[in-house]
Amino acid sequence: MTKRELITPAATKDLYLPVMAEITDVRSMTPLEKLFEIRLPGGAELGHRPGQFVEVSLFGVGEAPISISSSPTRKGAFELGIRKVGMLTEMIHRMQPGERIGIRGPFGSGFDMAKFKGRDVLVVAGGIGLVPLRSLINYVLDNRGDFGRLIICYGSKSDADLLFEDERRLWERDPRVEFHLTVDRGSPGWQGRTGVITTLIPGLDLDLPNTLACVCGPPVMYRFVLLALKSKRLPEENIYMSLERRMKCGVGKCGHCQINGSYVCQDGPVYHYPDIKALREAL
């Protein structure tokens, strides 16, 4: 039974009140995805970890969880990669620099980068899964000496859907990054590799106990990537994954994001694989 003296609003915070932030830059990545640069009032830092998310809202339209795409090492503003899939994101896609949107957060677990120190980092990103993982990638690049190898496996439906073109070209050229790219179906003239993302994994030369894998992609992808990583004999405790659910309130109250008994907005969206292995609804 909750103690009577705890039933008080005295220590409560403004859980549902967004901060009004300014869109400072909009870049189109594909016909469906745009990258928005957002600045909090007074240039305040968001104070996030790679892998966390914010609740983005437009008054009169609604609110949705969006993962943070920029690294906390890049100061003064943060970035959200947003796919146009519903009414809210459709409206956000019409917005211009100078306009303001509501932000709550950051929320969720994120990657505990201290645990990645000195380790090789293997990023497995499927489609829009690259959006949150780009935060981690740039965090590693901005603190390059703290980490071992950075291996990026990025798979996309087609070459027309590829995200972050400029940065991708940097990663391809950067000798400190091992970048592997594949598309499910290339358009005519596609010179690169074709095949699903799991086809990139068997050929990787991994320093096994030292490699930590970070996986994010569409729901169907996880099981197959796990199988591929297992057949590389990567230990389960070396795997982290970021999962998508409907994190409506972000503060562990509304119930929508639950995977079995776990609130994704509190315990996730980044999970250590051994922690969710037994959750039957997870993957």
Binding site: L6, I7, Y16, G60, V85, G86, R246, K253, C254, R280
Partner: protein
Amino acid sequence: MARFYLENGKVAAFIGHLQQQKTVYAPHRKGRNAFAFAPVDRPQDVVLDYPRTVSSIKRYFLPPREELLSFNLVENTCEQPVVAPLDAVFLGVHSYDVHAVLKLDHNFVSGNPERNYLTRRQGALIVGVGFTPDRFHFSGSVGVPAGDTTGCDLFLHPCEGGYALEALTPDGEGLVAGFPLPAHTAGLPAAAPFHQHIYVPQAKLKDVLAHGYDSEVWEEEAEKCTSCGTCNLVCPTCYCFDVEDAVDITVTRGSRERRWDGCLLRSFTEVAGGEVFREEPAARQRHRVFRKFKYISDETGEPWCVGCGRCTASCTAGISIVSIVNRLVNDHDAVKA
């Protein structure tokens, strides 16, 4: 603490005494066979002997619809409405509904404590009342006997010719003060028996549920289920909500509202792009039952169902949560035997 005798003839006057101190909410008859909590206007309209109310007193702390923000679309600004505390007495609450409020307290105090709920809940006093279990009640199986006084400030134990009025907290004593009543010296009548039972002690339920994750019962019950979400709506411990924006007719103002939601509804887990994470009705049935008997219990050690029987009494398809759980118990014991 003190125990008084409140004879039937004085109940209305006692309610009047409470009304002089606070707003009083109590059960009233609605239509022929339904009962609902409502603010008391005339004390003689209050019904203290009733099977169950359609919904619990949850709605006063977590309203079915509630404004979280009001916004000005011209200025692109918003503000939080000021939530008024409830200076109220809830009279005639059954023990299981008091337990349900205590569980909601846990949810809204834990993690990120929530202002709106706690503001309303803070000043609310509860006067419980004993009840006679009908064919749907099973709170005795989840740790709530019919005369359980946990969480109450006062409790009305039905007895010959009236009630034994038990004061349980200083606030409860304060409510009675100034209303002269004789002491109740006789013992309390035994709490009435239940007609429905879960076959195992509550401590074992977590194991039973864990064992029953892949039971055929989910599919079988889901065949009947129409995913209407009534079980969620009437549940006194369900607290999940959706949030939606509404714009007024001038398109200059609007509000962000939260509304009760239910995990039995297909849209509950739907994300942008159309993926639904509990697509099958069976998975949604299981989620609800696991929420009540396992997931939260794993943290708190208590079942999160209070045995009110509302979900079963109001199910449009005749699905019984007790039958589901007992089926799992039988399956579990069959393997053990």
